[in-house]
């Protein structure tokens, strides 16, 4: 199993697009904290900021494009053709020859993905929160460790969400489009919460409530419940993905 995970890690980190995700995801959030610093300082002195303890954590959300790219690419790279001269050849064929047990393969893939994203999230969270402390230290309380862990968990779960959707669609473009539009400043899920209260249980809306306090969603979900709601979404989607992966021709 260890060698499987190592192989999957090496495959993932050998993809140029994966490095785009790693670099973008890690740099965006600290960059936003830096760029917004003057504006936030003004807001703090004017007293318009409702909950300063959310400050650095809220900026983490913008880096989520990183885990999304990683989660999509880890599956979609298996399905893209390996070269123009051999249009039918896909990496998945070689992978399945090496690991015919599809369940074991998916477990290894999932582990590799979670390890990579968790490492990335830990680095990004440390950088973003340290930067927030340095810039606005006197006004912002140091975030509770549980909330930082919840934010890292949210990153890993978002990567798994992207991964599960890609397992179902077997194509990177659909999940990327859906997820990136939804990570925009005003997300589609947020719009839907204005239409129906049920939308509060969408994975991204529930997920952010694991570590943010000051949200204006119609239904407030306690952090642990929020984590469970998001995990439930991912378990269901992963189960569908696994069944399809085992049933369908490669």
């Amino acid at each position: 199993m260890v060698s499987l995970v190592r192989a999957e890690l090496r495959k993932l980190l050998g993809l140029p697009t994966a490095w785009v995700g790693l670099v973008l995801g890690t740099l965006i959030a600290p960059a936003v904290v830096l760029l917004n610093a003057p504006y936030i300082r003004r807001a703090i002195t004017a007293g318009t900021l409702t909950d300063p303890s959310d400050l650095g954590l809220r900026d983490l959300g913008i880096g989520l494009i990183g885990p999304m790219i990683l989660g999509v690419i880890v599956v979609s790279s298996e399905y893209t053709s390996t070269g123009q001269d051999a249009p039918g050849a896909r990496q998945l064929t070689a992978t399945l020859t090496a690991v015919p047990d599809r369940l074991r393969l998916l477990v290894a893939k999932t582990t590799a993905l979670v390890l990579t994203v968790a490492a990335q999230a830990a680095v990004t969270a440390t950088a973003t929160l340290t930067l927030t402390q340095v810039l606005h230290g006197e006004h912002v309380p140091a975030p509770a460790p549980t909330r930082v862990v919840a934010a890292i968990l949210y990153w890993a779960l978002t990567a798994l969400l992207a991964y599960a959707i890609t397992l179902i669609t077997r194509n990177g473009i659909v999940p990327l489009t859906l997820l990136i539009i939804n990570s925009s400043v005003v997300s589609v899920s947020y719009l839907l919460t204005k239409v129906t209260d049920l939308a509060s249980y969408l994975p991204d809306i529930a997920g952010t409530q694991m570590f943010l306090r000051d949200t204006d969603f119609p239904v407030e979900i306690a952090p642990v419940t929020a984590g469970l709601v998001m995990t439930a979404w991912i378990v269901v989607l992963l189960a569908i993905g696994l069944i399809l992966f085992q049933r369908r021709d490669a």
Partner: protein
């Protein structure tokens, strides 16, 4: 003329384009409904209702452009065949852009109508149609340079949905007027930017296509 017919047929027979167009239109319908129902409950969602759904579903048109251009470079390398049949690259690139515009225009018109007409914003419809068509051409130009669908989609969606809103949200930001997608919500302000961005991207794509190995 033959080239135009060939390019049109290639675009019309791509199943991925048909699916993208349908999904985009359906998503617009859904969002228009969401905006309308929020409005009728007396809590409007901010942006002008006639155009706001298009701000999201323009993603579909970005994907449409990317898929149209990247399909030549996908498995099998169709571009080699295309160039055998039509070796003059600059005219070929021009015909490709025109054919894509011709295919996109009806989809853009239908999508724009879905979003603007229920919100009684019929005057915006021509502008929105033009904007969506130009956005598709811009995406196709970018994908022609990148040559791979997924990285091109990441690049474009990252710019339109993450970098753009961030730059625009900064108070006193000048960037807003110069971004290619400002026109999505404010046609009178961002029209020039959209046209200039699209034309430069098309020029860049034509030049790289002319110089680079296929």
């Amino acid at each position: 003329m033959n080239t135009a017919r060939a390019e049109l047929r290639k675009l019309l027979t791509l199943p991925s384009l048909r699916r993208t167009a349908l999904l985009t239109w359906a998503a617009t319908l859904l969002l228009t409904y969401a905006y309308a129902s929020a409005e009728s409950r007396g809590e409007p969602l901010g942006d002008p209702t006639a155009l706001a759904p298009l701000g999201y579903t323009q993603a579909g048109f970005l994907v449409l452009g990317v898929l149209a251009a990247a399909s030549e470079y996908q498995e099998g390398g169709q571009i080699h065949t295309t160039l055998l049949a039509m070796p003059r690259r600059l005219p070929l690139q021009a015909v490709k852009a025109l054919a894509l515009a011709a295919v996109t225009l009806p989809v853009a018109a239908a999508t724009a109508a879905t979003s603007t007409l229920p919100a009684s914003g019929a005057t915006w419809m021509p502008a929105a149609t033009a904007y969506l068509t130009l956005t598709t051409l811009l995406a196709a130009a970018v994908a022609g340079v990148v040559r791979r669908a997924v990285p091109a989609v990441i690049l474009l969606l990252g710019l339109y949905f993450i970098a753009g809103p961030l730059l625009r949200a900064r108070p006193g930001s000048l960037a807003a007027a110069y971004l290619p997608d400002t026109a999505a919500l404010n046609p009178s302000r961002g029209a020039a930017a959209t046209i200039i961005w699209t034309l430069s991207a098309l020029t860049l794509a034509a030049l790289t296509f002319h110089r680079r190995d296929a």
